[in-house]
């Protein structure tokens, strides 16, 4: 072949290849920025969504009102359909789809700022119902029963028969694209069959199935062809910070410890979107600020008879993973790892529960109604009311209220784990438990553990006040006097709650009233909330990052993800919270460099080398540490996963998640092509037969008879066979 021929040939090959690439792009338009619903499993069930391994395909149906959903399930002719529905309408139509899923291929849920979503929560009506302590009356199965989370759809714990994707407000242009395509092809509903239709394909194939027992077994088995891991246990790290170092205490006579806890994590049905503003962030930020201000109130030179351990629990959304592990370890004498506590060493446990749900409805006033729940025990009423009264009267000066409820029906919180696992001490009353929440009979947060529980749901406005290189934050008096913030803002309210709690704890520790002027700073609250709820690219995390890590420019400008994730991978939220605690409560040694800092080995402290306020690196001596937050079910040998005593949640493995929109042909074309092919084959076969029959008439010197019957061929065949 001549050179120019080769050139022409390769040119045409190139054209053909690049054309096919573009053809693919012309057919499909990818839907970017979606978050898929995925599968989790517990000891007895699978929950969440999965598509088939090819993805779910169906024509689009925009659900604008409830009747559209009814039409889809009952009259749709070209189904199964992909329903595209806004979060505002989602709660009204989801039960219809769950009950009649045959005509539903999948759901694309989008957030639309122009439609008000009144509720969006996919946790149970009774969150963590099956891990509740004795005396809980919340029942999600009784139709008229008492429930905490009235709007809960329980989708996070149900097996959803179709895939679902969520598109946040920032990706609204994708919905516009789908809507445009829908208007063009699918608008005439009664003429759907046999027409090309605007379709969506959702791909979120999950590897695990059935339950935790099966998926862990399949992950562990060493099959030759499929050594695939199909699921991982949920879990991460708890953060704990003893106010005073406990390492050198007398083992026989340990100081009693007040446990102050809050949860780090939240959850949502969709992968990667779990802001948790009212579900967990307000509680966590309050705890961090309480620790910071209490540390500044207490002179470290003196020794006191009581210690405080501030603990942030992780995985609480999934049957209290973190608190079950802590309570389990305390019962075995294994927590904290240094100088473990025994159950009798803890006289008081205070949990900052779900606070923040009532903030938005009280955004125009200074008040913030808080409630203290405590188990109904006769022998420690004095102890509880003494504490609650002290806190309540301190809050009163800020126009905030705290009402005590003595009941065994405690809202979802780590108290349930302590009441189940450390039964002896909680029932005898030697361990007094108090839960602080801002709801009473029902959740005030309508977005509990959901993708929409973001900063707007608590009315958080970031003020972006400069922090000096010394890390000094403006005091509340100054902030209010200068009018930087006003007293109705949530930053001020949270800082005041932290101050009051710190003062009350101060009194418990020192037996004296606090007379100093130290207060939690609304400025610091502002910064912390911004880091957790708006952007990880924030001042506090820049200062609290590891000193040896590269530029912090790589921190994403997204809220900190607060889903607990799988225990095999450590996520950022507990590290952020722990480092903030260290930064604000630890001793700073700016003169020490990294190598010296890493080399210090004292049993009572840990040393962290963080970036610090002026970004030059600072060595911090702290009592803060991390402990494992993984369910005891995965720790205990031969645990019966179906027993339901400990959390058994695992998360399925998946390979890819994607969604795309395209116009699907009606199928007539494919049918015509098939028929044409079949006819052509038949004609060719007949023609061949006829030509062979009449070969002697057509060709001159054609051989006679069949091809294989000649002597030569038989000879060849014979040799091959023998």
């Amino acid at each position: 072949m001549k050179m120019y021929q080769l050139g022409v040939l390769s040119f045409f090959c190139f054209i053909a290849l690049s054309q096919s690439e573009r053809l693919h792009e012309q057919i499909y338009s990818s839907i970017e920025g979606g978050a898929a619903c995925f599968r989790r499993l517990n000891g007895t069930h699978q929950a969440g969504c999965s598509s088939t391994d090819k993805g779910a395909v169906g024509p689009v149906l925009m659900i604008k009102e409830i009747n559209d959903a009814l039409w889809l399930t009952q009259n749709g002719t070209a189904g199964p359909y992909i329903a595209v529905v806004s979060t505002a309408l989602f709660h009204d139509i989801i039960e219809e789809f769950m009950n009649n899923p045959t005509n539903v291929a999948g759901i694309l849920v989008y957030e639309d700022a122009y439609q008000i979503t009144s509720a969006f929560t996919h946790d149970s009506k009774c969150p963590n119902e099956y891990s509740s302590g004795p005396g809980s009356t919340c029942s999600s199965s009784e139709p008229e029963g008492f429930v905490w989370n009235e709007k809960g759809t329980d989708l996070m714990r149900r097996d959803i028969p179709f895939p679902m994707f969520f598109l946040p407000e920032s990706r609204i242009e994708e919905i516009k694209k789908i809507e445009e395509c829908y208007q063009r092809y699918n608008l005439d509903r009664n003429a759907h069959s046999g027409k090309p239709l605007c379709s969506v394909q959702l791909h979120s194939f999950m590897f695990a199935a059935v339950d935790t027992v099966v998926c862990l077994r399949r992950s562990a088995s060493s099959a030759i062809l499929t050594p695939t891991k199909v699921c991982d246990p949920l879990g991460d790290q708890n953060v704990y910070y003893p106010l005073f170092s406990r390492a050198k205490e007398n083992k026989e006579a340990k100081r009693p410890v007040i446990l102050v806890t809050a949860r780090i994590d939240t959850a949502s049905l969709f992968d990667g979107i779990s802001p948790g503003a009212a579900s967990s962030v307000v509680g966590m930020v309050t705890l961090l600020n309480t620790a910071e201000v209490l540390r500044s109130m207490i002179p470290m030179s003196k020794t006191y008879g009581t210690n405080v351990i501030f603990t942030l629990l992780n995985g609480e959304a999934f049957d209290y993973i973190g608190s079950q592990k802590v309570a389990y370890d305390i019962s075995r004498g294994a927590w904290p790892p240094i100088m473990p506590l025994s159950p009798t060493d803890i006289p008081l446990h205070i949990e900052l529960g779900q606070i923040g749900g009532a903030l938005l409805s009280h955004r125009d006033e200074e008040s913030w109604p808080l409630y203290a729940f405590t188990p109904n025990l006769s022998n420690n009423v004095d102890k509880v009311s003494e504490f609650v009264n002290a806190l309540s009267s301190d809050l009163k000066q800020y126009n905030m209220s705290l009402v005590m409820t003595a009941t065994d029906n405690i809202p979802p919180s780590s108290l349930h784990s302590f009441r189940r696992i450390l039964k002896n001490v909680t029932e005898s009353g030697s361990l007094t438990e108090i839960l602080i929440a801002d709801h009473n009979a029902q959740f005030t947060n309508m977005f509990y553990n959901s993708a929409l529980d973001d900063y707007t749901k608590i009315g958080f406005d970031y003020h972006n006040i400069t922090v000096g290189s010394d890390g000094i934050f403006l005091q509340n008096d100054e902030i209010l006097a200068k009018g930087i913030m006003n007293a109705t803002e949530i930053q001020v309210k949270i800082s005041r709650l932290a101050t009051s709690l710190a003062r009350t704890l101060y009194k418990k520790i020192t037996d004296e009233e606090y007379t100093g002027a130290n207060q939690a700073s609304a400025h610091l609250v502002d910064e912390m909330m911004y880091c957790f709820l708006r952007s990880q690219m924030c001042r506090l995390l820049l200062a609290a990052d590891y000193g040896n890590s590269g530029g912090t420019e790589n921190l994403p400008q997204k809220p900190t993800p607060l889903y607990v994730g799988v225990s095999a991978y450590s996520l950022t939220a507990p590290v952020f919270a722990g480092h903030m605690l260290a930064l604000f409560t630890g001793m700073h040694f700016p003169e020490l460099n990294r190598t010296t800092c890493d080399r210090i080995d004292k049993s009572e402290f840990s040393y962290l080398y963080l970036k610090g306020w002026n970004n030059t690196g600072v060595c911090i001596q702290t009592t803060m540490n991390f402990s494992q937050a993984i369910s005891p079910a995965f720790v205990e040998r031969d645990y019966d996963y179906a027993s339901g005593f400990y959390s058994t949640w695992t998360e399925s493995v998946w390979q890819t998640m994607w969604a795309r929109v395209f116009v699907a042909a009606s199928g007539n074309g494919a049918l015509a092509a098939f028929i044409a092919g079949a006819v052509a084959t038949a004609i060719a076969a007949f023609l061949t037969f006829w030509i062979q029959r009449n070969a002697q008439r057509i060709f001159i010197n054609a051989p006679t008879g069949s091809l294989v019957s000649t002597d030569a061929t038989t000879g060849i065949l014979r040799t091959v066979n023998c």
């Binding site: 088939t52 391994d53 590897f207 099966v214 077994r217 399949r218 088995s221 030759i224 062809l225 499929t226």
Partner: protein
């Protein structure tokens, strides 16, 4: 190999040999034997070794059939019952399916 060109004693030897090899849990060899020697055993005019060949062909055929039935039954039972066997079902599987029971 062309059986028609083989002397009768060699045919018998070959048929017996195939039958014996099939006894080593190789039902497919039995099946081949049964098909291959079917004409020799039942359709050719009688000769001395034919009776024995007939015997081996019958035994091979019945054996292969029994194997076939047993295998088909096992496949059916396994496919229908694997899920309900739970752990045993997974251990018996060479490829464990993803995303379903």
């Amino acid at each position: 190999m062309d059986l028609t060109r083989l002397p009768n004693d060699k045919k018998l030897q070959l048929c017996r040999w195939y039958f014996k090899v099939g006894c080593l849990f190789l039902p497919f060899v039995w099946a081949v034997n049964a098909v291959w020697f079917f004409k020799e055993a039942f359709m050719k005019p009688p000769y001395d070794e034919q009776k024995q060949i007939k015997k081996y062909v019958m035994m091979s055929g019945v054996g292969a059939l029994a194997w076939g039935v047993a295998l088909a039954a096992w496949v059916a039972v396994f496919q229908l019952q694997r899920v309900s066997w739970g752990e045993a079902g997974d251990s018996l599987s060479f490829i464990v399916p993803l995303g379903r029971a």
